[in-house]
Symmetry: D2
Subunit: 341 residues, 4 copies
């Protein structure tokens, strides 16, 4: 038996750990051959593949990135994409695919399944915003990095008597902001799930200053003011065609400065959150995902995605898995408000 493996979408610590687990279990337990496809769906589309052996995965567990490369190629946007993929898989004698990726990558996996391709999905979203799984790998690493940054910023904020606004990832879900904000002891946390009242933020900031401390505000990049003020997001182009660094974070730092008369600065953590070596937590989760994906392949259980439920790895239908976004429940957010101000 021969299986293929590919990684799609953006960088996420833990991808190599999944690949390693798939290769180890595929070869050592089942005696399969494992073919690595390059650059996401581009690989099976254009036949970019080569065998991966035990030595290839010997030293990759702790390394960021993906040894297979990645892309955002969608075969359903390419001429005869699905047909070409099936032809390539047939040509290479690939019996099943393990596709590691986010919403887009798994969406393709789901559609290919419907067309008879044997696919098992492994979910990857650094934002942790997938309803079907308790956690996804990469998230813990992002939270770890953001928390380390907040730890460091605290003394700087105090020394400079400044408000510091830390903008973290999270366009549609505030999990990174919530967890790193809780872990870093943020004095305000803002998430996309709950539009914020800038006056309330300013009150909390002022209360903090009055208590003789400097405030740290953690804001998800997708958080938005409730009054509908237009805020450019990080990565968007402004009126001059410049890629914007700092969206709601810089906007809020300005507002705080104007409304309090105190100095206020934004820190935008950006890409630092999604690269490099994964935490132990993410390595274990990614490894278990890889092992269980191989189990699904072995049992011929295709069209599914592995997922974490409690301490168990389970399988869910790809169709259900990609249907729903997991956002921060307002009750979870309310819990964190205890620490505001």
């Amino acid at each position: 038996m021969r299986i293929g493996v590919l990684t799609g979408g953006g960088d996420c610590p833990g991808l190599n750990a999944v690949i390693r687990a798939v290769v180890r279990k595929g070869i050592e337990v089942h005696g399969w051959e494992v073919l690595g496809f390059r650059n996401g769906w581009l690989g099976p589309l254009e036949g970019l593949a080569k065998p991966i052996g035990l030595d290839d995965v010997e030293d990759i567990l702790a390394r960021g990135g993906t040894i297979l490369g990645s892309s955002r190629t969608n075969p359903y946007k390419e001429e005869n994409g699905p047909a070409r993929i099936k032809a390539v898989l047939a040509e290479h004698g690939v019996d099943a695919l393990v596709a590691i990726g986010g919403e887009d990558t798994l969406g393709v996996a789901r559609r290919l399944t419907d067309e008879g391709v044997n696919v098992v999905g492994v979910p990857k979203t650094i934002d942790n915003d997938l309803a079907a799984t308790d956690y996804t790998f990469g998230f813990d690493t992002a939270v770890h990095i953001a928390t380390e940054a907040i730890d460091r910023l605290r003394t700087t904020a105090e020394s400079h008597h400044r408000a510091l606004v830390v903008e973290v990832m999270g366009r549609h879900a505030g999990w990174i902001a919530l967890h790193s904000g809780l872990a870093g002891g943020a004095n305000v946390i803002l998430v996309p799930e709950k539009p914020f009242d800038v006056r309330r933020v300013v009150e909390l900031v002022q209360r903090r200053f009055e208590r003789q401390y400097a405030p740290i505000i953690v804001v998800a990049e997708g958080a938005m003011p409730a009054d509908g003020a237009e805020v450019l997001q990080t990565g968007e182009k402004d009126a001059f065609g410049h890629v914007r660094l700092g969206g709601v974070g810089t906007w809020l730092a300005d507002e705080i400065a104007h409304r309090t008369g105190k100095e206020s600065r934004a820190v935008v953590l950006g890409h630092v959150q999604r690269g490099g070596t994964p935490t132990a937590y993410d390595r274990v989760l990614a490894t278990r995902f890889g092992l269980h994906a191989v189990d699904a392949v072995h049992e011929g259980d295709f069209g599914v995605m592995v997922a974490l439920r409690g301490t168990d790895i389970v399988r869910v239908k790809l169709a259900e898995a990609t249907a729903e976004l997991k956002t921060v429940p307002l009750a979870r957010y309310a819990e964190a408000e205890v620490f505001f101000g």
Copy 2:
């Protein structure tokens, strides 16, 4: 209303995060007074208490240890212990207690509950061996530290062409060994749940050397050879009255050296695993435990312990909570064997 809080047992990263959460929510949400009892159950036994305010917990979230001190004092081994505790609580006007600790501390909490004291427990075991909860705080930090060590040891093992045996915590349960071994890419993992055949370990070590790599063996301090060989444990006294450093780890390193003719060394991580700043994961978990303990107090739901189930914090009866040890299921251990050799 006035509540008391105490921490018992050994060091565990996250204790201060629990205390902070209890104080913040108690004061900010409920307007309670919070009394900190010193040194575990010794505090309520001898009336060692003082109020904790918001400023006292301002800067403790990221700090190891416990601002309340700890001890292993068991009031049921002291004359009139329980009665004295009740008297002290009455004298200080304490309506309820939040007790943070392990098996012993929570066992006392359970018995005091039966005698009418209002207690809510927060579980603390760095070994993660409590059946009632998916995870306990401190565990992720221990795994993180052990994994960092294994990462570093890998290049040393290779450069010196040596087998390295890393002894980690875990007297009765192998969770730290399993997780750090998986995360660090260990070539053999040994846990108390499954007595090991030293010949099998040696085979794996030799296979590893034959593949031109150096083996890293992660062994829980409570792992034992299947043939019943007597192995002194770390911390026990040897025939000369010396406290032993390195039990099964040093024993195994010797065995490997003798049986393979290769150099072999033990590294005993020891106390490093249980101190210092908690990981972001542990800070969030500890914080949530503290918040939910306050909820239980607020609702008058005593004799319970907070616990993690999936992503939810739930409550379990103290009586059930402390009844069962959570060991590594053999199926979980078998998964890891894919990476051996």
Copy 3:
């Protein structure tokens, strides 16, 4: 004898280590009393002082910030500033001052020395741009943090096929850019000492992409294009009154995107570089500075600053010490060019 100690200027990891060393040696070796003045020169100006004992410095070695607080107050800009300081020192019976700070703080120290105040200076500049000393504490920590960030960004740049421009501190000297760029394996490093030709940068970026890698460009915030293009700096206000996040870094990322057609993003590390726990290197250096400052006080050698030369701590006249900026020599910069592209 009674001495005072104060910290002025911006946050810099290691300040508390200096304070601790001064207190320990002052009390334990010489039996002095040590008075801590709050908030830089504001302390002796307004008599904000209290005794510091051994217990106060017990736990501060590893902590960022300064237990004394800081400010940018310049007594020479206050009415009768110097006279008021002398009066406060006399009133509190302070025989000598240890002043820890940067150019401004030490400039005041120098002028007060001329007026008969007994001052010993301890240099503090995170930018390492003081000619009189080989290194200053805080610099190694900043380089460490920037290097960790670059390590993480590398896999992200590769996975996203993007150029990443990392803007680090260094308005007048490029030491942090040079060292973190070398340590992180940057593909281009730009420093204030050498205006850069943007076409040359683009060539190197393109060469890098042609080699199938993604380029990382490390740029000091004070680096400037050679053609005199106007670039707003981080922290300056733009035409709309908004505080700018990202100066030359965002500008350059835009230029690279426009000129290469490749995606390009800026990451601005900002305040993260100057806060939090110091590296071991900085703790040792700061500690030794503190110890030697006490020696100078003990010997009555005032108007001097401690400095590192090789592995020795020496003293230099404050007048000379603050005269000259230490910039990156072009030969040192040229060395690094070996790694460009």
Copy 4:
């Protein structure tokens, strides 16, 4: 022109950074070919060599170990060793060698130089005990790791009311103990340069306990009691043929326990100190060493070793360089005593 490069002796973070710098500068600046010899002097002895190109060193800067492998082979102990080396170098057309290693490796380099082989040395000693250079790479990493461990142990010592003895590397010189002890705020530091009086250590430990803190004692593995008590060292075999884990550290922990009646434990950091990713400081130093070694080769200046003096890289004759051990001066040690107790 063609040069060879090799690495000898034990693991030391920074080896790959030297190799990378040699390869980059050799190829990019001088257009040389670079040949990597495997496993120290075994490589040129047995002709184990292959070309190293830019791609081979692309990703190694941050990685521990050495891509060339290492060994302790001494060609002067092999039959016709030096002659065989000369023959291999001639056969491969190697004009000059860059030899990276410690005392033994550089001793061979010196003797080969006398026999007409063109060698430039790069010093490598994690113990920092080479008189000819201010610092060697690997040392800062070792100190960093030991300091992190001490930071963590502090809260554990306090929580458990125990004395903790931390045994660090340093058989002949106490640099790692001194620096990590200073950086970690150790309460006693013991070095090989000054035999210690165990009663004095016990006094300091007791003083510490009386101050209501728990003592941390950092001891170099080569430190010895002044009364001549025999202490087995880590790595030596005991009477039963077992490799000893913990020498003076475990011995001292026992002594403290017996003499104070307090609990006392040893932690032996061991191999963790010498592997894994180097600190930024070590990466920069190792890189500069590599660059300057190439300069020496380019200028035909053989029989020398690169060394750090202040902030400059200089060259010293191999003959002088390896002559003298750099131990901790007693005055430096005395400075640290301020923090004892």
